[in-house]
Homo-oligomer: 303 residues x 2
């Protein structure tokens, strides 16, 4: 395998890695220009003049995943449809019209939702493929992955193929409610007891708009300190998500869940799932992204 | 019964009525200074110099309900505890230390919630008692009332006593999500088809943070017009509430629901409940408030 430049170009940031011939990361750097901060036409310039230069990667082929393939990004890359696996996604890589070494964008994935509206992802599909590539045994049987975040994704993989998934806007709800609602809650040092109390209050994930109100009543009419509200709210929302996902996606509650994401955030999900007696494994999101981009780079070279 | 000045002094506004000897409303007026807009100490001055004067009610006894009895209001009136009925609340009326004709504040009501935190209301208890007073038959058996609003209340009444209740922050979620989240939705002319689609997407009221995301996907990756998003979001939230309330409050799904509130908002709840095959009656919230304040005024005179 030749060396290449791997990028997860998301909404807020761009994470870039130079991956060597041996498949190992030789350099890593973050850039503050996610697609939500780009003007039209700016992506190509930023990539050429800042990312390539800063990474010392002017001559390397590049593999990009994430929101860079959306309407806000460099070019709109059509979604691949479920069910999809590594060779399938490798065949749909989009080559940007750019002189010099090839720049490929990984398509997002689209699948049916539980309503008439479809579900979509851009970036998580690469983490799923990376997670699969890191251990061939994972491509056997039914697997459940959860990617915590602003818009958390739960993904069902059957025999190495992404078959269906669903989005919970848990992270965004947390932010919006604590900044703009009567539930106003400062981010404070994590309070595990309050988080556990929130998990408990989540019940079976039903009646969330009622359960949310307890963030306020437990302080105003109860005896809890306002400083614990953010942790309680977090427990309530993550508890509601972890309770609701199995039914919405139709998977058995006793299947293990692989958490793939930012380690500190995964830890809260781990607590929530273990409180429900679930088996959990935790995997670094960046490692999964790099592994996915590497696997797709190899597929691309082969094709 | 002597004439009196009736006020529902809420968070945003104050509604005032002069009620005559015959029990009928002789004058009505709204004032823009709800408790959230008052400085400490301002309530008494506003009431004496603006409300009494504007209503020509300088010499009338007054009966006030709502947030005016909260920490933001005139004076903090301790909650009455469930179960509570009209005579019970009448005995707990709070007389403000004010020269001239008596000014009484109706206590809010507190009851156990479904978590360790209690449930509280200020204002709706008066509407419930008013609704009961308007028809003696309503004080027999088990009744379910729903008060739509920023913080909607569902109340169970057994033989004329408020026995338990629960709060859904549906109205606030609607506002916060359409103003501050990725679901950003302009308020547009009501779209009944989109509302019905939202009701359908609410499922059994579970997994709300996932279902909310369909407000976005149905437009971005589906084929729905963004102008229909607000009505869809409203259907999703009200559908989730009406699905979740029976279980949370533990009442039979075939009990009729009495909607008490602002008629235009009640209409959406009526649509949602009828779509689930529920029997619904609709009652004007202001009429219920006046009836409750009148019943309490008579109790107070008697005591």
């Amino acid at each position: 395998m030749g060396p290449f430049l791997a990028c997860d170009w998301g909404t807020t940031n761009l994470r870039a890695w130079v991956v060597g011939e041996d498949g190992c990361v030789q350099a890593q750097r973050d850039f503050p220009f996610g697609v939500s901060r780009l003007q039209p036409g700016e992506a190509a310039l930023r990539f050429r003049h800042e990312v390539r230069r800063a990474m010392g990667a002017e001559q390397l082929p590049a593999m990009l995943c994430g929101m860079i393939g959306s309407t806000l990004g460099w070019v709109v890359v059509p979604y691949a449809e479920t069910p999809i696996d590594l060779p399938g996604l490798g065949r749909r890589l989009y080559r940007v019209a750019e002189s010099g070494p090839p720049v490929l964008i990984v398509p997002g994935v689209r699948g049916p939702g539980y309503t008439a509206a479809p579900e979509v992802m851009r970036g998580e599909e690469t983490q799923v493929l990376g997670w699969l590539a890191l251990d061939p045994a994972r491509s056997q049987g039914v697997r459940v992955l959860c990617h915590p975040g602003t818009h958390a994704k739960w993904v069902i993989v059957e025999n190495g193929r992404i078959v269906r998934f669903v989005t919970f806007m848990t992270g965004e709800l947390f932010d919006v409610l604590r900044k703009h609602s009567v539930l106003r809650a400062e981010e404070n040092p994590a309070d595990e007891a309050a988080f556990a109390e929130g998990l408990e209050a989540a019940g079976e994930g039903d009646a969330l708009s009622a359960r949310l109100f307890t963030v306020r009543t437990r302080v105003v009419a109860g005896d809890r300190r306002p400083e614990s509200s953010a942790s309680y709210l977090s427990g309530l929302l993550i508890g509601s998500e972890t309770a609701g996902a199995p039914r919405l996606l139709g998977f058995e509650r006793d299947l293990p869940v692989a958490l793939v994401g930012e380690p500190a955030l995964c830890r809260w999900y781990e607590l929530a799932l273990r409180a429900r007696g679930r088996t959990v494994t935790v995997h670094d999101g960046d490692e999964a992204s790099v592994a996915g981009l590497r696997a797709l780079h190899m597929e691309g070279v082969r094709a």
